[in-house]
């Protein structure tokens, strides 16, 4: 079943120094994203997901996380990317946003990074469409770019959108 793979340190120890933020970076298709570490509760393996009717397609269903039932969002579908079958690297990142616990499926979780303010840049104006609303910015690393996601908006929009369905 869904075993906890990475247990993150308690929040108090994750306090980033002033001027730097800590992000968990993950891969989705060929892009690398980052989510602020304080939003991430834990990272688990993908287990069996119970599908739910009358919801948006990107809601994969429900899982049992230590006796709590939480919904799982497929981030690929959420961003309008084609669905891929799960691999050994596929993970569920469990988020705590707005008092609700939600899991998001990502292709792979890479590492925890410390990013200083200087490395941050606003999202390029050329990025448009759905993705842009949920970007807080870009982090310029040595050889690559990290897309920082605004999870709060991403997931609160999930509930808002699906509530209309229900």
């Amino acid at each position: 079943m869904s075993n906890s793979e990475v247990k993150l340190a308690p929040q108090s120890q994750r306090q980033a120094d002033a001027g730097t933020i800590q992000v968990v970076s993950f891969r989705l298709a060929n892009e690398e994203y980052g989510i602020e570490i304080t939003k991430v509760q834990e990272i688990i393996l993908v287990g069996e997901i119970t599908r739910v009717p009358q919801t948006s397609p990107y809601i994969k269903g429900l899982i049992n996380l230590r006796s709590t039932v939480i919904p799982i969002v497929d981030l690929r579908l959420r961003f309008g990317m084609p669905e891929e079958p799960a691999t050994d690297e596929t993970r569920i990142m469990v988020m705590n946003v707005g008092g609700k616990t939600t899991g998001i499926i990502v292709d792979a979780v890479s590492e925890v990074l410390r990013i200083s303010k200087e490395q941050l840049a606003p999202p390029p104006p050329t990025v448009s469409g759905l993705g842009r609303d949920y970007l807080t910015g870009l982090a310029k690393l040595e050889k690559r770019l990290l897309i920082l996601l605004d999870v709060d908006r991403l997931l609160s929009d999930v509930s808002a959108a699906t509530q209309m369905v229900a």
Binding site: M1, E48, T50, R51, V52, P53, Q54, T55, S56, P57, Y58, I59, K60, G61, L62, I63, N64, S67, T68, V69, I70, P71, L77, R78, G80, K100, T101, T102, L130, D157, S159, A161, T162, Q163, M164, V165, A166
Partner: protein, 965 residues
């Protein structure tokens, strides 16, 4: 100050609890009072039962006291007025009329609103001024407003209690004006305490303290006493006065509210003492602390006695000590006599021999009294007739020489009573007499009562009493008292012990119990799986026969080939022998495996045990959350009363089964729907008296609230004997609102028509009355009931009345369910919605108007596939092979039925309901999720909304679909 804040929070919580109870009590009594005013004049006694008014007064007073303590000025002000009103009523100064009761109802409503606002931590928006003014008008009209001095004065009077209140004031400054003020205090209630009397003799505890409340009181008082003792032991400073005061008051209030008046009196006295210290901005003096600690002990052993059923009454002793200590404190502030400074009193006291008995006294003569020395000598002579002097100042020989004596201090050994002494001293020319009795009890308990008697030439007389001798350390004495009390074993029954628990903790416990249920199911599954592997016996037989074959083979080879010997033969022989040996050891090992069978049996027994334990835990946890529905029902008495007033109908509310217990959370949720249903019955159901008479019914309509158990469910019925539902009007309305098509209308049965009232946006009331039609439709009632996993049904007979029946599960968290499989997904269907399960051949399923229907035992049931109503965004290939038969689970609510085709049945199981909303959102057709034994999540089907969805058809559902992507 966070400690203090915490304390205040705790107190506020307690206040809210307590005030809710008090308000309920007030409401209940008020209704009785209301009934009293409704009686026809000729049969009505001129005044209601004094007990009733007394109880109400006590409730109002407790509320006032508690709110004053917490500085809730609004509540305090209002309760204060209510108290005035009740006081006037019980003193027969005010006649209770319907109007009085109405004003009172308003006041109670206001209070409820205020308490609710406090609970919700909101600003109270309402204005109580109107009610207060109404009460004041009423009091003024009845001419009892004179009772109302300034609010402060009254507060002081009540806070300081009865007997003791006026003493210091009078003694301090015996001027006419003060005397007048003191005279305004009801003199008759001031008891003269003779020191060897039981100071609590005039108060009696109520005979029948309800054990339930007693238990609550015991818990509460224990906590409060702990707090109190803790504060006292830590040698309190000025800042501790507040918390001491609160604690004393709390004991007083709760003791009085259940009728333990003696404890209340004692606590009251303690409170006075602290209040006095607080007023003077000084800490509670040491001796008072000792005495209060002793009082706390006394109350503790008294309540302990109540708990164990062994009476232990040391309250009187403690009270006496407290009086003494209090007096010692207050003595310091007594204004000394203008002439001699009272310096002689202690001397007079000291002059008494050990074990002496008598009085010390101080007599002040009127100023300007001619020949006062003569008067003094005469007085001394008079006194001498009653006993012997052991102290006299000025002494007789001195008096002769003096020209004019202003005061006289004496100590007199005598066995006369206080009354007698007072009479002796009452002579012309004496302005004031202070008398203190020196008592020698057989137990060597030394107690002195000091009675101050102020006499003026005017006819106003104020008699007060006060112990005034410094208490001496007397630990042995209280010990004796305690022992003595404990020895007096009474036959009182032992009340149940209770514990206040945060409901969140109970929720948590319920949750854990739920997980235990899940795990138990999982164990059951594992056990069953293992049982499947236990075909050991046959394996053993197979191995045994193989082994026999092998040995026959070796033996046969020996016989057949006899003496022949070749390397090949030898090798064959060796292989055969090896095979035989291997099989033998295999057989042996398998023999060992039979032990596993025993172990397996052990396992299943253990699982069985686990079953029982988890059932037990589940039931016990459920039981702890159960509270009787009575108080909820009682609230509706008031509702019906108000309705009767406004609607000109005569309605009686009959309550049955108020002791039926329900989950606390359910009771909380049921209030709104029930009020709505009752209003509905009163407004739409019950006819006006004229109509009723015309229909040959009793002009008074009856609404019956009934709660009872039926099977594994709790049923709440709201029955009225009114005109019943009007099918035609409902239908007309439904058509006009577009709920039903006209073409369908003709075919509907009355029962089907009645069900239309559950439709959203349905309301038959042509005009919105004050009562119903406040926007909460029957659909809201229904959804509220469904939220707590209940179902609501209705039956109606034209002209006979309507019955609403709410069926509730015993608990909100655990749901007995039928587990089914549809296309690989496991779903749970609440067992209570399952009508039956049938297996029918495909040929029995046909279509009517395109709707698939099946004939099941001569009735026609429409059949649906779950996929007809559910829209999945992920589809799986159907793996079930088409078969000749179909399994249908026939589900139904409120009389309508539906056959749900399922692929497989997994059996019945208790599932724990997990809200989808908690982390996600509600989903149509799904009541929630549950976790199966194997850890998977399964959805619980919401039969009610499935029915609705199937009627609307899949199209309707899909059209509502909004895809965000």
């Amino acid at each position: 100050m966070s400690n203090n804040d915490q304390l205040m929070d705790d107190i506020l919580g307690d206040f809210l609890d307590e005030s809710t109870e008090l308000l309920q009590a007030l409401n209940a009594r008020l209704l009785q009072l209301d009934e009293f005013t409704q009686l026809p004049d000729e049969t009505r006694p001129s005044h209601p039962c004094p007990d009733l008014l007394n109880e109400m007064f006590r409730a109002a007073h407790s509320l006032k006291g508690l709110s004053g303590m917490l500085r809730l000025d609004n509540v305090n002000g209002l309760t204060h007025r209510m108290e005035n009103l009740l006081d006037a009523a019980r003193n027969l100064e005010l006649t209770i009329t319907a109007e009085t009761v109405d004003v009172f109802f308003k006041a109670v409503d206001r209070l409820e609103a205020m308490i609710d606002a406090l609970r919700a931590e909101e600003e109270d928006a309402g204005d109580s001024q109107e009610v207060i003014e109404a009460i004041e008008r009423m009091l003024a009209r009845e001419g009892v407003l004179k009772q109302q001095a300034s609010a402060e004065e009254i507060a002081r009077r009540f806070a300081q209690g009865m007997a003791e209140a006026s003493a210091p004031a009078v003694a301090e400054t015996p001027t006419p004006s003060v005397a007048v003020e003191a005279a305004a205090v009801p003199v008759a209630t001031l008891p003269v305490v003779d020191a060897n009397d039981d100071p609590l003799a005039d108060v009696r505890d109520d005979e029948d303290v309800p054990p339930k409340y007693l238990a609550i009181f015991l818990d509460e008082s224990e906590m409060t006493l702990d707090d109190l003792s803790e504060t006292l032991v830590a040698s309190p400073d000025v800042s501790a006065n507040e918390s001491l005061l609160v604690n004393c008051h709390r004991i007083k209030g709760s003791a009085a509210s259940i009728g333990l008046h003696r404890v209340a009196r004692l606590a009251h006295r303690m409170e006075d003492l602290v209040q006095e210290c607080r007023r003077q901005q000084r800490p509670v003096p040491g001796e008072s602390v000792d005495a209060m600690l002793r009082c706390a002990d006394a109350i503790r052993s008294f309540t302990g006695g109540l708990r164990t059923g062994i009476a232990c009454d040391v309250l009187s002793d403690a009270y006496r000590q407290l009086l003494r200590a209090g007096a010692a404190g207050s003595e310091l502030k007594l204004a000394p006599c203008t002439h001699c400074g009272d310096a002689h009193l202690p001397l007079a006291r000291a002059a008494f021999p050990r074990n002496g008995q008598g009085f010390v006294g101080h007599v002040t003569f009127e100023s300007e009294l001619p020949l006062s020395e003569l008067k003094a000598i005469l007085l001394v002579d008079r006194l001498r007739q009653h006993g012997s002097f052991c102290y006299c100042q000025p002494d007789e020989s001195e008096m002769v020489r003096l020209s004019g004596v202003s005061c006289l201090t004496f100590g007199l050994s005598t066995e006369e009573s206080l009354d007698q002494m007072r009479r002796t001293l009452t002579v012309d020319g004496v302005a004031e007499v202070k008398l203190a009795a020196v008592i020698n009890l057989a137990t060597a308990c030394e107690t002195t009562a000091f009675a101050v008697e102020t006499e003026r030439t005017s006819e106003q007389t104020v008699v007060t009493s006060r112990d005034l001798t410094p208490s001496k350390p007397s630990s042995t004495e209280s010990g004796d008292g305690a022992n003595e009390g404990e020895a007096r074993a009474g036959g009182k029954s032992k009340p149940a012990e209770t514990l206040r628990v945060d409901i969140d903790r109970l929720d948590q416990l319920m949750n854990l119990a739920g997980q235990l249920v899940i795990n138990r199911a999982r164990f059951g599954q594992i056990g069953a799986k293992l049982k499947g592997f236990s075909a050991i016996k046959s394996t053993l037989n197979t191995v045994a026969s193989a082994q026999r074959c092998a040995s026959r083979l070796t033996v046969g080879m020996d016989e057949y080939f006899g003496s022949q010997s070749s390397p090949e033969m030898d090798e064959l022989r060796m292989i055969a022998a090896q095979m035989r040996d291997d099989l033998e050891s295999l057989q042996h090992d398998l023999g060992q495996m039979t032990h596993m069978r025993t172990a397996l049996n052990d396992l299943s027994e253990a699982v069985h045990q686990l079953d029982r334990v988890s059932d037990g835990i589940q039931n016990t946890v459920m039981d702890t959350r159960m509270v009787p529905i009575g108080p909820l029902f009682m609230r509706f008495k008031r509702v019906v009363r108000d309705l009767t007033r406004t609607s000109n109908k005569q309605i009686e509310l009959v309550i049955v089964g108020e002791s039926t217990e329900l989950d606390k959370r359910m009771i909380d949720e049921l209030g709104d729907p029930l009020i709505h249903l009752i209003r509905n019955s009163a407004d739409h159901g019950i006819e006006s008296p004229e109509e009723r008479i015309a229909a040959g019914k009793n002009p008074q309509g009856t609404i019956t609230l009934n709660a009872f158990h039926r099977g594994n469910r709790i049923v709440i019925q709201i029955t009225d004997d009114g005109k019943g539902l009007d099918a035609d009007r409902i239908l007309a309305k439904a058509i006009s609102k577009g709920i039903v098509k006209e073409s369908d209308a003709e075919r509907m049965t009355p029962q089907q028509i009645y069900q239309l009232i559950w439709q959203p946006g349905f309301s038959t009331a042509e005009k919105v009355t004050e009562v119903s039609g406040r926007g909460m439709g029957m659909d809201i009632v229904q959804s509220k009931v469904e939220q707590i996993n209940g179902a609501i049904e209705l039956r109606s007979e034209p002209g006979q009345g309507t019955t609403f029946e709410i069926k509730l599960p015993l608990t909100m968290a655990i749901l007995p369910s039928l587990l089914i499989v549809i296309e690989g997904d496991v779903f749970a269907i609440p067992v209570e919605s399952v009508v039956e399960i049938v297996r029918i051949p495909n040929s029995e399923v046909g279509t009517v108007h395109g709707q698939r229907t099946a004939r099941v035992r001569d009735r026609v049931v429409s059949v649906i596939e779950l996929n007809d109503v559910f829209t999945w965004n992920q589809t799986f290939e159907r793996d079930s092979a088409p078969s000749d038969d179909q399994t249908l689970v026939i589900v139904g609510v409120e009389g309508s039925e539906l056959g749900l085709r399922v692929d497989a049945l997994l059996g019945e199981q208790d599932v724990v309901i997990k809200s989808l909303e908690e982390n996600f959102q509600n989903v149509g057709g799904v009541a929630g999720a549950s976790i199966l034994g194997d850890g998977r999540v399964s959805l619980i089907l919401d039969v009610g909304s499935l029915l609705t969805m199937s009627q609307q058809g899949p199209r309707a559902v899909e059209s509502e679909e909004v895809f965000a992507v």
